[in-house]
Amino acid sequence: MALTAIGTVIALGLTACGGGGGTPAGTGGGTAAAGAKDAFNASLTSVWNPSTKKGGTVKMANPGTWDSLDPGDTYYGYSFNFIRLYGRALLMFKSAPGKDGNTLVPDLAESLGQASDDNKTWTYKLRTGVKYEDGTPVTSKDVAYAVSRAFDKEVLPHGPSYLNELLNWPKDYKGAFKEPDRDISSAIETPDDQTIVFHLKQPFGSFDYIVQMPMTMPVPKDKDTGTKYQEHVMSTGPYMFDTNEIGKSFSLKRNPNWDPATDPNRPALPDRYEVALNVNADDIDNRLISGDLQVEVSGVGMGQAALTRVLNDPALKERTDNPQLQRLWYVSIPPEVKPFDNIECRKAVQFAVDRTSVQRAWGGPLAGGDIATGMIPPSMDGYKQIALYDTPEGKGDVTKAKAALQACGQPNGFETNISYRAERPKEKAYAEALQQSLAKVGIKLTLKPFPQGDYFSLYAGKPAYVQENNIGLAVNGWGSDYPETYGFMQAIVDSRTIRDAGNYNLSVKIPEVDQLIDQIKGEADAAKRTELWSQVDQRVMEEAVTMPGVYARSLLMRGKGLTNVFVSDSQQMYDYVGLGVQ
C-alpha cells in the first residue's frame, strides 16, 4: 500500500518576509467571545463556545492552495476536513471534540460497511433522499463512477490510491475517462440505486477507513469535466460553490437541495464560507490575532514570528490550542551502513542523543512537540512509553553511550553522515542538534542536505545510495492518512514494503515485526491488535534501527467570533464541519 506523505508537511516555515509585520504587539488580545472564556487548550477535549445559532460568514485563508477541490483529486489533510462541507462520502469521521472525533459514522451510507466473512467484500447501503445541488438524486452508480474516475492518475494525479490497489479491478483497467464502458463488476457492483458493493483483492479489515476518504463522494457522470471538474464541483453537502477562482479565492453558500433530515452529522451553522488562497503566512497569523480572519485553513499552526508574540502575551496565548498531531519526526538508522551493522553502535547513538536539544530544534514543547520514545504517536492505539533508552532528564548519557561504543568495538567513536531535506530549516536544526550531542561521545556527523523532491526517490529512500554514500542516519518524518495504527505503521516498519527506491521505511527490517503485522491483519479483536502493535513498537526500539525525535504538535489560534470550536483527533486541527459564527 502506498502511503504518500500528506499535506501537513508543505508549509514548514519557508514562507516569511513581506507584509503585515507592523501590527502593534498586544492589540486585540484576550477579548473573549461573549459567553465563552478563553483558555489555553480550551477546545481540545470539549466544545469551546457551544452554540446552535445559524447565520454569518466564516473567513478563512490558506498560505498555499488546495492540490485540487475535486473530491477525486485531493490528498491534503485539511482538504479531507474541509471537503465535508460540500461533499458527502460513504462514511465520515464524527464531528466531535477529542477522541470522540476518531469514530467513523455513516454519512452517505446508512450504516458502516457490511463485510463478508473473509473481509473481501464490503457492502454499503445509501440513504434515500440525498440530492445534488441541482436537485438530481444521488445514486450508488455515481459513487461507483466517482471511484472509477479517480482511478485514472493521469487525469487526477493527487488523490490517494488505496482503492486502486485494494479493489479487484479488471486487468489493465485505465479508469472511467479512458474506458467509460468497461465492465468493472469484478471491483464494484451496484445491484440497485441504493447499494454499492466493493470486491477486494485481499482481505482488508480497515476498509471503512478508506471509504471515508473523499474519493467516494458521488460525482454525476454527465457533469464531470475531468481536470476542470474542480472549477465546479456538484455539491452534495450543506454548502455549494458560490464563486471559485482557482488559486485565488472561493466562497461557499448554502445548498438549497441539502436536506438536514438525511444528514445527522452536520450542524451547518454559518451561511457562508469565504476562503482566500496563497496568502502570506505571517499576514494570516497577524490577521488571526487581530480578528480580521477566523481560520487558517491548512492547520499547520502559527509561524515563528507570531509564535514569539503569542507566547509572550498571556491574553493571546489563551486564545490558542496546542493539539498533538499524528505525526512523528525521527531518524532512521539503516543497519546495513557500517558501523551500524552492529547493534551496539546503534544503541550508542540512542544513549548519546540529547533529546531536549532535539525537541528545541523542532520548535520546543509547544510548537515542536513532545519527546518521542517510540514510533506510535500517543493518540493512536498501541502507544506506550518505551523506557529502553531513557537518560537523565533526556539529556543523554555519555557513560552508557561510551560503554555501548566499547561493546561495538569503536571506543573512540566513528564518522558517519546524516541526511535531511535541504529546504526544511527544522530538519537542518535537527541534524545540527544531533551533530552536537553525538560529538560528545566521539561520533562525528557530517551534514548532507538533499532536495526534498528527490529525497526518497534518489537519496535517503534508495538503499543503494544510502549504502554507497555511508548515510548512517537519515532524518525522516511520517504522518498518518487516517487515524488508525495500521495505516500509520505498516508503511514505515514492514520490511516487505522496501523497494529499490522511493522507500519511506529506511531501516526497519525485522522478520519478527513482519510476522506480527501479518498476525494483526488477521486479528479481529481490536484490543489484541492494540497489544500486538505495542509489541511491534517495542521490537523496533529494541533493535534500535530508528531513533524517535518528537511527536509533533502545532499551535492553532481560535479566530475571534467563532462558535462551536473544537479539535477532533481525526483532523488534528479545528473541525470545519462543526464551526459557527456569532
Binding site: A16, Q304, N312, T356, R360, G363, G364, P425, E432
Partner: protein
C-alpha cells in the same frame, strides 16, 4: 601609462624649468608610477579608511580562533539554557547581548553570534580572494593575448567572453553545486565544495577583467615604446611580458579590488540559497537565510548583514581610491 605625472607631489610646486635644471642643486629622484599612485592614495582619506577596514577584516579572518577564544565561545557550541524553549528566542534584551555574548545568541540553539560572524569572514574572504585571483589570471592572460595578436585569435576570445557573460551564472552555480559528489579530484566534503565554489565564481567572472585588459592592450601595443621594442627585433612573448604586462598592473590591481566585493556578494547569495558551504560551518549568507524565519528578532539579521555590508563597502571604497590614484582622469 605615463601621462598622469602632472598632478601631484611637491615637485609640481616648483616651476618646470627649475626642475629640469636642477636649480635646487639636488639630484632629482625620478618617481615610479607606483610611488606616485601611493602618494595620491595616502591623501585619499576615504580610500585609506576602506583599506584599514580591509586589513582589519583580513586580520580578523586569519586570527578568528584567537579572537573567538578571547571574546566569544566556539562557533558551533550550543547554549540552549539561554534560549526560551517555547519560542526559541534568546532570553534577555537585544537577543541576549551581553559582555559574554557580544552580538547576542542565535535563536533556537543559542550559538554565539559574534563567533559565527567572525568565523564567517574566513569563508567569505577565502572564497572571494581565491576566486578573484583565478578570474584575474585567466582574464589577464586571455585579454593580453586577444589584444596583442588581434585577428582570429581576438575574434575567438572575444566571442568566448560574450558567451561567458551571457551565462546564467547563478542558476548554473546552484545546479552544479547541488549535483557535486561527496568526493572528487582528491578532495572531500567542505574542501571540495569550497574548491568548486572558487572555481565556479572565478571561472565565470574572468571576461569582466579580460575585456578591460584586451582594450588596454589594444591601445598599448600601438604606443612608441612597443614600436621601439619591435623595431629592435623583440618578438611576441618578450613584448607581452616585458613591455605590456608591467603597464597593465595598475588596471589589474584596480579591477581585482573591485571584483572581490562582487564575489563576496555572490558567495553570500549562494550560501543564502543553501548551496554554499554546508552547515554548521558559519557563513554570512547562510546566517541570513536562517534569520529569515526569525525576522522579528532583528539582531540575528543585522550582524551578518552588517558584516557583508561593511566588507563590500570597504573593498569598493578602497578599489575606487586605487583607481583614482592610478588614473586621476577617470574621476
Amino acid at each position: 601609462m605615463t601621462a598622469p605625472l602632472d598632478v601631484s607631489g611637491t615637485s609640481s610646486e616648483a616651476p618646470p624649468e627649475t626642475v629640469l635644471e636642477g636649480a635646487s642643486g639636488k639630484a632629482i629622484a625620478g618617481r615610479s608610477l607606483g610611488q606616485i599612485a601611493w602618494m595620491r592614495l595616502k591623501r585619499d582619506k576615504v580610500a585609506m579608511a576602506g583599506a584599514t577596514v580591509v586589513v582589519l577584516l583580513i586580520v580578523m579572518a586569519l586570527l578568528a580562533p584567537l579572537i573567538v577564544s578571547w571574546l566569544g565561545h566556539p562557533p558551533d557550541e550550543f547554549h540552549e539554557d539561554l534560549v526560551d524553549p517555547n519560542t526559541g528566542v534568546p532570553v534577555g534584551a537585544w537577543g541576549g547581548m551581553s559582555s559574554d555574548f557580544l552580538f547576542g545568541l542565535e535563536p533556537s540553539n543559542g550559538r554565539d553570534l559574534f563567533s559565527r560572524v567572525v568565523y564567517g569572514a574566513r569563508i567569505s574572504l577565502l572564497i572571494a580572494f581565491l576566486a578573484t585571483i583565478l578570474s584575474v589570471l585567466i582574464g589577464t592572460i586571455l585579454g593580453v593575448v586577444a589584444g596583442y595578436f588581434r585577428g582570429w585569435v581576438d575574434t575567438l576570445i572575444s566571442r568566448a567572453m560574450d558567451v561567458f557573460l551571457a551565462f546564467p551564472l547563478l542558476v548554473f552555480a546552484i545546479a552544479l553545486v547541488g549535483a557535486i559528489p561527496e568526493s572528487a579530484f582528491g578532495l572531500t566534503g567542505d574542501s571540495l565544495r569550497i574548491a568548486l565554489l572558487i572555481f565556479i565564481i572565478g571561472f565565470f567572472n574572468w571576461p569582466y577583467i579580460g575585456r578591460i585588459i584586451r582594450g588596454q592592450t589594444l591601445s598599448l601595443r600601438e604606443r612608441e615604446f612597443v614600436d621601439a621594442a619591435r623595431s629592435l627585433g623583440a618578438r611576441g612573448p618578450y613584448i607581452i611580458f616585458r613591455e605590456l604586462l608591467p603597464n597593465l598592473i595598475a588596471p589589474v590591481l584596480i579591477y581585482s579590488t573591485l571584483l572581490i566585493p562582487s564575489n563576496i556578494l555572490f558567495e553570500a547569495a549562494l550560501s543564502f540559497l543553501g548551496v554554499g558551504v554546508r552547515p554548521p560551518t558559519p557563513t554570512w549568507g547562510g546566517m541570513l537565510a536562517d534569520a529569515v524565519r526569525y525576522y522579528t528578532i532583528p539582531h540575528f539579521t543585522i550582524f551578518p548583514g552588517m558584516a557583508i555590508f561593511i566588507t563590500v563597502l570597504a573593498f569598493n571604497l578602497f578599489g575606487d581610491g586605487l583607481r583614482d590614484a592610478f588614473d586621476p582622469r577617470s574621476r
